[in-house]
Amino acid sequence: MDSMVDLDPGGTAVIHIRGRLDFLSAAGARQRFSDVIEGGHRRLVVDLDGLEFLDSSGLGALIGGLKAARQTGGDLRLARAPEQAKVILSLTSLDRVFRSYGTVEEALADY
């Protein structure tokens, strides 16, 4: 999995995920979210357009990032989730926990 981060001086960050977010990459993703939050960017948008697959461990990384962001008064939102990601979010009812948007712009605008 690769991730690219766009940081905005206003405190938002867009994290673009490419590849599989699964048990092999979950720890790295979790670290990425932590680093961004600790760097002072608490309003995160995770852009899932390049996501190939999301497993339960990947969900764990997203939940961990969500918790860390909300603890600092921010949030972690999802954008452009592909179908398989939507399905696993729905099966676990975590689609009710994350705010999800069709585009990164909509996610940022809603902050």
């Binding site: 048990f23 190939e52 497993d55 339960s56 461990s57 764990g60 961990g64 696993i88 099966l91």
Partner: protein, 160 residues
């Protein structure tokens, strides 16, 4: 579900290493090609339906890769077979690792976001997800000391 005649099948030996999951995903992709070819007049399963099956296969496969061979010796692996029948598809995963011990309850009981995150990260929800995503999830320890997982999902029956 009717066992009957196999209409299409793919099978591979998956190495228990850093490339194992690449092989699993490749095989799933190949299997959908087979299902498409075999569909004939029948409606193809939807993207959602295929995602559910893939989720179940990946969670079981991930558990094997992560936990079946704690004392690794030369080239541990498992076999993954995906088969298309008239009214269902199945995945059979067979490994020769340590005996799988099913948890007392299939659904882990996370009471906080911290526990939820940890449970998810450690694969604690894998079996529960598999049960939610497909119709049948079965495990047996075979006579020759292998673990055999079988997942089955009923196909939609509409005709195009």
């Amino acid at each position: 579900m009717v066992a009957g005649h196999v209409m299409g099948a793919v099978e591979v030996v998956v190495p228990v290493d850093g490339q194992g999951m690449d092989v699993v995903h490749l095989l799933l992709g190949r299997f959908w090609e087979v299902v498409t070819l075999a569909a004939g007049d029948r409606a193809l399963p939807t993207e959602t339906w295929r995602a559910e099956f893939a989720i179940a296969v990946v969670e079981i496969a991930a558990n094997i890769v992560r936990y079946a061979y704690p004392n690794r010796v030369d080239g541990p692996s498992f076999t993954l077979a995906l088969r298309l029948y008239l009214d269902h598809i199945e995945a059979v995963l067979t490994d020769e690792g340590i005996a799988f011990a099913p948890p007392a309850e299939v659904a882990p009981a996370a009471v906080s976001v911290d526990e939820l995150a940890v449970d998810l990260l450690e694969g604690g929800y894998g079996l529960w997800l598999a049960h939610s995503a497909v119709d049948e999830v079965g495990h047996e320890r075979t006579a020759d000391g292998a673990n055999r997982w079988r997942l089955a999902k009923r196909l939609p029956l509409e005709v195009r």
